[in-house]
């Protein structure tokens, strides 16, 4: 069984969208679920939160941002290529209200996992305000899709190249200060951004969910590498999460744990880039 890439889209220079033929996953996947995939027989198993799905077509969409060897190797795949493994859905469905007003915050490529949450909330009749942002305009992803899935959309950039000049968290703060009634906030992005979101909403007693992305191996609760401390308790992000109460997460610990293999990751990435460079020079790279 191979999992064929039926569509590939460049969202930015380093962020690619893949529509993958995976009928078994597409059947039952819901917003908040993740998959574990491998792109080669020597590859590592990496978790990726699902960005979209089409049950009828039997496809699941994931967005990959190049940060290391595995993500680079995936982004070098072309339409028609296949993942060797693509398993899911895994984890718990994102916690979602049935009514009221929810603000969905997506930072960087964290916009991708926020998209299905916004869509699902909207389909339930919840009012959805989305705040998405990136360092600079070129790195903003899925703006049209988020626009379509939201009642209001705020665009932010750290450098002011588009939308609000500042962080998504600053835009969120402004929205709260403006007196708009908000029932819940869902925030996905880099760990520091999620931590900052929690700090913005906590004084207002605003219920907030974040999606953690620790290192995983099996994704079924078997190895325990994805353990996080939430509300002082040990949780496995793979089976208990990935969404957790933003005000209960021990971010410092989670940040440190994600650095466990920083050195190895850098080594592997450097070797890969070296190789890719060689291949390109030789004109031998496919796709």
């Amino acid at each position: 069984m191979m999992y064929r890439i039926v569509e590939k889209r460049d969202l930015t220079d380093v962020t690619k969208l893949f529509v993958v033929d995976a009928p078994m996953v597409a059947r039952r996947v819901q917003a908040g679920h993740f998959v574990i995939l491998r792109c080669s027989e020597e590859g590592e198993r990496i978790p990726i939160t699902v960005a979209d799905f089409d049950r009828e077509a039997g496809t699941v969409t994931v967005v990959i941002q190049e940060v290391g060897k595995t993500s680079a190797a995936i982004n070098d795949l072309a339409e028609g290529d296949s993942f060797v493994d693509f398993v899911g859905p895994l984890g718990q469905v994102a916690p979602m209200r049935e009514d009221g007003h929810v603000v969905c915050v997506g930072g960087g490529f964290g916009v991708a996992p926020v998209l299905p949450v916004a869509k699902e909330l909207r389909s339930r009749g919840v009012e959805v305000t989305s705040i998405i942002g990136a360092r600079t305009q070129d790195l903003v992803i899925l703006q049209d899709e988020m626009e379509a899935a939201s009642d209001q959309l705020y665009l932010c950039s750290d450098d002011g190249s588009c939308g609000f000049h500042g962080f998504v968290t600053q835009q969120l703060e402004e929205l709260i200060q403006s007196g708009t009634h908000i029932d819940e906030v869902v925030a996905v992005g880099p760990m520091v951004m999620m931590k900052a979101t929690a700090e913005v909403t906590e004084p207002h007693g605003l219920k907030t969910w974040v999606s953690l992305d620790p290192i995983m191996v099996d994704g079924t609760g078997m190895c325990g590498v994805c353990r996080v401390t939430v509300g002082g308790e040990l949780k496995f992000a793979c089976v208990d999460g990935p969404f957790f109460d933003a005000h209960e997460v021990d971010y410092e610990e989670a940040l440190k744990r994600n650095k466990m293999y920083q050195r190895e990751e850098r080594l592997a990435y450097d070797m890969y880039k070296e190789n890719r460079h060689e291949c390109r020079r030789g004109g031998a790279v496919s796709g």
Binding site: V217, G221, R257
Partner: protein, 468 residues
């Protein structure tokens, strides 16, 4: 010429300790033909073969050894396969000393017949020649789903296929084998051999689907109602590691044995960067616990580059649960044992990396619930133990993923699926379970025994319910 000794097992040659700590190759070499014949000759062929009563999968031991004596190893293989679909695995990892060999009459005065070694010899002999088990019986026209491809699931699948059922095995990981692949190290159980034995099941008609998480990819109810399976066997194992809730348990460098072994066995992290999955093995490694998994983690650490490996256990050598053979192998290889020491905290540096453990010395008190002497801390005996890597081998619990997605499937408070002991029948009609998901972490052969019993019960259930 290998002489057979009435009271002693024919020795099995193995890699020397100095040599083997530098590689992941299998430790014992297995018998040569001559050695196997010499060992088979030791069998008295008892009228009542007590050895067979000690075998959870009822291997016709007396008969297969007789086949060997008759110089017909192909027949011996068929004899073993008649009840055991995984003999190359069993011959290596079964605790024969507690089972068949414990019952051997020779064991009363000397050493029992090396039944495990002979089983391994026959299985390897047949595998080298590409022999298969005899083809399955007439098709029954019913489908059975098996959840998990570890020892319980594979045994149930093999037996059901042989009875004529159409069997599909669902495996969550990307390769089948369960704990045989992710848990038990290469040097005890070569992975190519596990795959070959599983390949034989596929040839016998078992359909194995990897990358399917029963519970989330597809539910047990869907298998029964929508997918046309007449029965489901759950053998999803004890894949839930225990943590102690000790301070510092989440420091970098603290691993569950499951994670550590999975990285090294399944993902081959010892080959990094040739493969993409890394692992960090410090110069000084501590393994907490003294069961078979602890021995596996300790011996793997030596091979993965650790300079010193320390097993730290809060009880004494007497209470250790590891097989004696594994313990001896570990000692030979240089693993150091620290009995009656209990870690109470992991100590870290500013970046969150493990730098040591705080331990306390223990003494043995009154027996506890398990019947073993309860270890009691000696006040004021705390000391610091410097390590860079710590591996928690404290046991595992049944993985809750399948039960939690199967309404009406009753479990014990500690997670085990509640079953009828003989049949493996659960609280749900048509759903059977066996192996570690029922008992908590146990041995490969016990799981296989449970898979075998459940296969028989499933056959009875389907015959009664649907007619055969």
């Amino acid at each position: 010429m290998v002489e057979s000794n009435r009271w002693k097992k024919t020795p099995m040659r193995e890699q020397s300790a100095e040599e083997r700590v530098n590689n992941f190759d299998e430790v014992p070499f297995g018998y040569s033909e001559e050695e196997a014949m010499a060992e088979a000759e030791r069998c008295l062929g008892c009228k009542v073969p007590f050895c067979e009563q000690g075998c959870p999968v009822e291997v016709p031991i007396k008969q297969f050894i007789q086949d060997l004596k008759d110089n017909d190893p192909a027949k011996a293989a068929q004899t073993i396969w008649s009840t055991n679909t995984l003999p190359a695995i069993c011959g290596r990892v079964c605790p024969q000393e507690e089972q068949c060999e414990l019952q051997c009459v020779l064991a009363k005065k000397g050493e029992p017949v090396g039944i495990g070694r002979l089983e391994r010899y026959v299985a390897d002999w047949a595998m080298e020649r590409g022999l298969d088990a005899e083809s399955p019986a007439e098709r029954k026209g019913h489908r059975v789903a098996v959840v998990g491809s570890g020892p319980a699931g594979l045994t149930a699948a093999g037996d059901l296929a042989r009875m004529g059922y159409d069997v599909t095995v669902f495996e969550a990981l990307h390769v089948p084998g369960g704990v045989l692949m992710y848990g038990i190290p290469e040097f005890r159980l070569p992975k190519a051999l596990v795959q070959e034995e599983i390949e034989n099941l596929s040839k016998a008609g078992v359909d194995i689907q990897t990358n399917v998480v029963v519970g989330t990819s597809i539910t047990v109810d869907e298998l029964l109602e929508d997918e046309g399976y007449a029965a489901v066997f759950i053998g999803s194992g004890a894949g839930l590691p225990k943590f102690l809730g000790m301070p510092g348990e989440n420091l970098l460098g603290v691993y569950s044995a499951n994670e550590y072994l999975t990285r090294l066995n399944l993902m081959k992290a010892f080959k990094f960067p040739e493969v993409d999955t890394p692992v960090k093995v410090g110069k000084r490694v501590a393994v907490i616990g003294a069961g078979n998994t602890a021995m596996d983690a300790a011996r793997t650490s030596l091979r993965a580059g650790a300079e010193e490996v320390h097993v730290v256990y809060r009880r004494s050598e007497k209470e250790m649960t590891a097989r004696v053979e594994e313990y001896h192998h570990a000692i030979e290889e240089g693993v150091q044992f620290h009995w009656l020491n209990n870690p109470v905290a992991f100590l870290g540096d500013d970046d969150g990396w493990l730098r040591g453990m705080e331990c306390i010395k223990m003494e043995l008190g009154e027996p506890d619930d398990s019947g073993r002497a309860r270890p009691v801390a000696i006040e004021g005996s705390e000391f610091e133990f410097q390590v860079e890597t710590a591996i928690l081998a404290l046991g595992t619990s049944p993985n809750p993923l399948v039960p939690s997605h199967t309404p009406g499937l009753e479990t014990e408070f500690w997670g085990g699926i509640i079953t009828d002991e003989d049949s493996g029948a659960t609280s749900r009609e048509g759903v059977f379970a066996g192996g570690d998901v029922v008992t908590g972490a146990a041995t490969v052969i016990q799981a296989m025994g449970a898979g075998k019993n459940a296969a028989n019960a499933i056959d009875r259930y389907i015959s009664e319910r649907f007619g055969s």
